[in-house]
Every structure is written in C-alpha cells, then in structure tokens.
Symmetry: C2
Subunit: 348 residues, 2 copies
C-alpha cells in the first residue's frame, strides 16, 4: 500500500513517482554523447530551459505551468556552442531552441522572408530568400550547420516536472565522467510544487460542481543531491527568479548556503533581459574560510552585477545587432569555469 510522505525527500520522490517512458533511451544517447566529448577533450554544459508542467489529471487536460519561453536557455546555449563547448540542451517541448529561436513563428516568421520567383523556362517557380534578410539568415544557418556537423549539440525534451527531475538526475550522473569539465546551467523554470501521481484524478476534472480546490506538495530540493551525490565535481549554476526585489539577494544566498554549489544567477522578472546578479561564495584568495563551510554568513558571498543598456526596440535595428545579456553571462562563466578547472589542478 502506498503511504504518502508528509514532505518528499528526493529519495521518496524517485521511489514513488514513475520515470518517463523514454528515460532509458535518452540516457543511452547522453552516455554516447558524453563519451565522445571526453575523447575529443571538450568541456560540456548541460543547459536546462523552459518551464515544467504539473498535470492535474492522469489523462491530462489541465496543468500548472511556469512562465518561460526558454529565451535565456536557448540564447545561452548558442553562446556556449560558439565558445567551443559541447551542449546538452534539455528543454521544455515547444520552448525556444538555439538558432531557430531567431525565427519565432509569431515575431519573425520565416514564411515572410521567402519569395517566389516565377520560373523563366516554364518549370516550377523558385523559392528564394528576400535580399534584406539574407545576411542574417546566412549567419544563423552557417552556425547551425557547423554545430550539426561537429556533433556538439544534443537535444533532450521534457514536459512535466517529473520528466525534468528524472532526466536531470540521469544526465548529471552520466556527466560525472567529465569531472570538472562539466557545467550545469540550470535555467529552466522548474515548478516548486507538484501533485503526486497517487492523488491525480484519472479523467478531466469536471466543472459545474462549484470551486476547484487544488492542493500541491513541494517538489524536493533537487540541488542538494545534485551537488552531494550525482555530480561531485561539476560546476553548478542555478537561477533565482523573483518579482520582489527585496527577496532576490537573500534567496540567492540562502540557496548557496543550503546546497553549497558555485553560483546563483539572480534575476528580476521584469529586468531579466538587462540585469542579472552573480552571487557566489567569496573566492579563497579574498576569504580565509573554505568555500565548503556550511555556516557562511552573508559577508562570505560576493555579488557581481552584470548590466547591458536597454536595447532599442523601435524596430529600426536588425535583431542580430541587438546585444544579448546572455553573451556576457556566458563569457563570465567561461572564465569562472576555467578557474574552477585550474583550481583542481593546483590543489591535486
């Protein structure tokens, strides 16, 4: 008989919630990918991206979701690829993806920049790219094809928070073969709450019976086992999104204290495209205490604010000329990740 825990530890969670049916297949592909990157000497980053769903029914019609188009993850993945990293892009189905993100069906639909040229010899008409769009598209397409030829991008898809948690555990375990050369860039907007399968309605919840009451459990804090067990050497970057500015730094620091990982990138919902803050334990050189101390006070953290000018969205600027904050976020992380790898060499 199933007895529901009062709160779910990661262990209780995985023992009671079923894995996605494609998990074994997905793990094997990741294993091959990781092995090849080890052989070829590349650094690897797992980028998670997009929101997770929490279905309310087994035959799911309704679900709770987290706001995220996947811009942060898809954009960052591109800059990691440009920098020579291999990328495992683990994203919510239908969220933005590297490269194709430039041509969203709603803001920049690709059908709009294709022209039909009448055939000259009576044969089929020819499709061509509108002249003004050619150079931008050529740049994106060239990168896209280079990455595919090099085999440095591996894409995984999730929908529910269950899919996400099972995949994250499996992928992080597979990436441990990379040691410190693995980075975790956890940009997905993961639900804090879930509905245990055992409490789900089988069929669509019927209306017409008054109010709908939903009671959800907390998702286990997955960073703890990620840091302590699944990947002991990986460089871990988590994200904290808030709408109340006063909570951003305290919550980022609380996460570092609790999980003991490397960086929290804090961002405010409304300013996230122009401003983020890196919160991390003070480096050993600037601080006498070890970064693994668990009772850090607030002054044992350093804050690094990263800002870009608010872009001109008047429409007069080509999207490719707009500076993206992810370019600077990734550049900063490349330095930190290198230092993290070097640090292991000097101490070993």
């Amino acid at each position: 008989m199933y007895t529901e825990p009062t709160t779910f530890s990661a262990e209780a969670y995985f023992a009671s919630q079923p894995p996605p049916p494609t998990l074994q297949h997905d793990i094997e592909r990741v294993r091959e990918f990781a092995k090849r990157q080890v052989q070829e000497g590349r650094k690897v980053v797992l980028v998670t991206s997009g929101g997770t769903t929490v279905p309310l029914e087994l035959n799911v019609v309704r679900f709770l979701d987290n706001f995220s188009a996947g811009t942060r993850g898809a954009t960052s993945a591109e800059y990691f690829l440009k920098a020579g990293y291999a990328v495992i892009f683990m994203h919510r189905q239908f969220s933005l993806q590297p490269f194709s993100r430039h041509y969203s069906h709603s803001t920049n639909p690709f059908l709009d920049f294709l022209d039909i040229e009448p055939s000259k010899d009576g044969n089929t008409p020819v499709i061509s790219v509108t002249p003004s769009k050619r150079s931008d598209l050529l740049e994106v397409l060239t990168m896209y094809k280079d990455v595919h030829n090099a085999g440095t991008l591996h894409t995984l898809t999730f929908v529910t928070v269950d899919d996400y948690l099972w995949l994250l555990r499996a992928v992080s375990q597979e990436l441990s073969v990379l040691g410190r050369k693995a980075m975790f860039y956890l940009a997905a907007a993961v639900s804090d709450f879930f509905l245990p399968r055992q409490r789900m309605s089988e069929h669509k919840i019927q209306s017409g019976k008054g109010r709908l009451s939903i009671e959800m459990d907390q998702v286990p804090k997955i960073l703890k086992p990620l840091v302590d067990e699944w990947t002991k050497d990986g460089y871990i970057v988590s994200f904290k999104l808030e709408t109340d500015d006063n909570l951003l730094l305290p919550k980022a620091k609380a996460a570092l204290k609790r999980y003991g990982h490397q960086v929290v990138i804090g961002n405010d919902l409304h300013r996230r495209k122009y401003e983020v803050v890196f919160v991390s334990p003070k480096s050993p050189s600037s601080n006498t205490s070890s970064s693994s101390t668990t009772d850090q006070s607030d002054d044992q953290f350093e804050e690094y604010w990263l800002r870009i000018p608010i872009p001109d969205t008047s429409g007069n600027v080509s999207p490719h000329q707009v500076k993206e904050i992810e370019e600077d976020i990734v550049a900063e992380l490349l330095k930190r990740h290198s230092a993290w790898i070097d640090q292991a060499k000097t101490t070993s």
Copy 2:
C-alpha cells in the same frame, strides 16, 4: 468596496475583471476587417485556438493552463481560407498558426531544409531550399502569400482566460454586422476555472511553507450571452473535449440544451485526430418540434460521426499527403452554414 460574488455571471465577471490593455486597438482592427468582408460579400469565421492561462500571481510566474498546441484551430483555419471564407484567427500566443504550422521548430524545423551553396563568383554564398522539400514548401508558401494579398486572414492573440473572454465578447459583437454570414468555430481550450484578480498574490508565491493550496472560481458560461445577446444570428460551433467516453454525448447534448446553439463537436482526447462527432438539434424536416424548444429530450438531437483512417506515421509519407480530419470537419460545416443562411431567406 469589492464584494466577491459566490458564482460569477458573465455580467459580474466583466464588471469586476479588468480588460486587456490592447482591447480597444484590437476591436478597431476587427471592425475594419468585418466591414471590408461585408463590402466584398464574404462569409467570415472566427476561429479560436489554443489553451488559456489562469495566472496565480499579478506579477505572473505560475499559471494554470489547458493542454492545446492549437492544431485543430490552425488546421481548420487553413481549410476555411481555402474555401473562400475570411478568417479571424484568435489564438493563444505561441500556439500553432495556419501555414507556419507545417514547419514546427521541433518536428519539421525549417533550418533543416535550407542549403548553403558556395558562391561561384567569390561573392556571398546563396541559400536555397533542399530539392526534396521544394514542392511542399512552394504549395504552403503560395497559399500563405495568396491569403496575405487577399487580406482574408486577421490574427488576434490572447494569453489569459481574461484576455480570451474580453476578446470573444468584443469580436462577436463586431461580427454581428455579418448576420448569418458569420460562423463561430470555438476550438480554443478555455479554462473552466479562474482566479479573480482580487484574490491573486501580488508577487511570486513562495515555496518553503509547505503545501500550496489554490482555490479557483468557475468561469462564467460564456456561450449563453454569446448566443442570446452578442451575436443573435451567427452560426455557432462549440467543442467538447473529454477523456471519458461515457461523458462525451451527454455533455454535448447538455450544452446544446443549455445554450441553444447550432453544433457541438465532441472529441475524445486520444482519438481527436481521427474521430469526432457532430451533435446538433434535429433539423425541422426530421422533427416536428421547433429547434428553439428548450426542453429537448435526447432524441431531439442528431449525431453525425466523422472518422478518417488512422494515418501512417512511419515517416515514409510526406506530411502533405496525410489526410487531416479538419478538412472533412470544415467541409461538413460549409454545407451546414450554407443551409443555415438559406433557411433565413426562405423563412423571411
């Protein structure tokens, strides 16, 4: 002071929940569009498509959603356009759209069928369409351009159930100038529940405080005022999606009894791409009672099942060769809509 009703009538709903900021602008565009179609003698269909969200916070991070990629609506809109209708396509942001739906970024990404041909004369390389993809793309692109040149497609976007309800009311009122020439094809998956703005949390709901409890109110039954007040002559097609087969026909009939509109298209979540049922009041010729009788018993309705063979998804068939059930749904509705228009002529 705001006093919350125990259940929301449509009137109480619109009196207490604020309209979307773009409503006035959207209405004016629809008014111009409707006026042009009247002048040009076209029939007009409003196609609603995709799911609606129910935000849990004013600064929204979390929301309830309804499962829908927007396939039914986007596909049907294309067939209505092919048949010469003008289409107002009112869809959930980022859901599928007519034409571009053939090139989803996940299943058939357009970057995959563009080739880079090295320049012959030392200038910029040329982008061309992969030969095997040319004929399908040419067909879609030709239709897309024809529709844009004819000005027969008008697109509106919603996100929340509030946006949807305000837009539906406004658009249906504007379409009343078309009389019986307006059809309403309500394929959007609209939430049955909502959280009144007055009960929303301002900021992101914090985790770490145990379980999350959400209590939601019923969305007012909007078909009632749509049929009775907003559009007295429009031909109204609503949809009923269930996961429990036993509920499909009873719920479809209950909706017709309650609202007195023309057709409910019932579909089962798992078979919706191959099987639907049209439920409608028996036509006057086959039934002595008037179709406006409100105490209809079950035998006063007729069912018309529409099925297509389950398509071959082995991947050996071009997506354009696969039969889509929406083609038959729209063909059936064209006949019924014509009869509905003719019926007014004979009785007037």
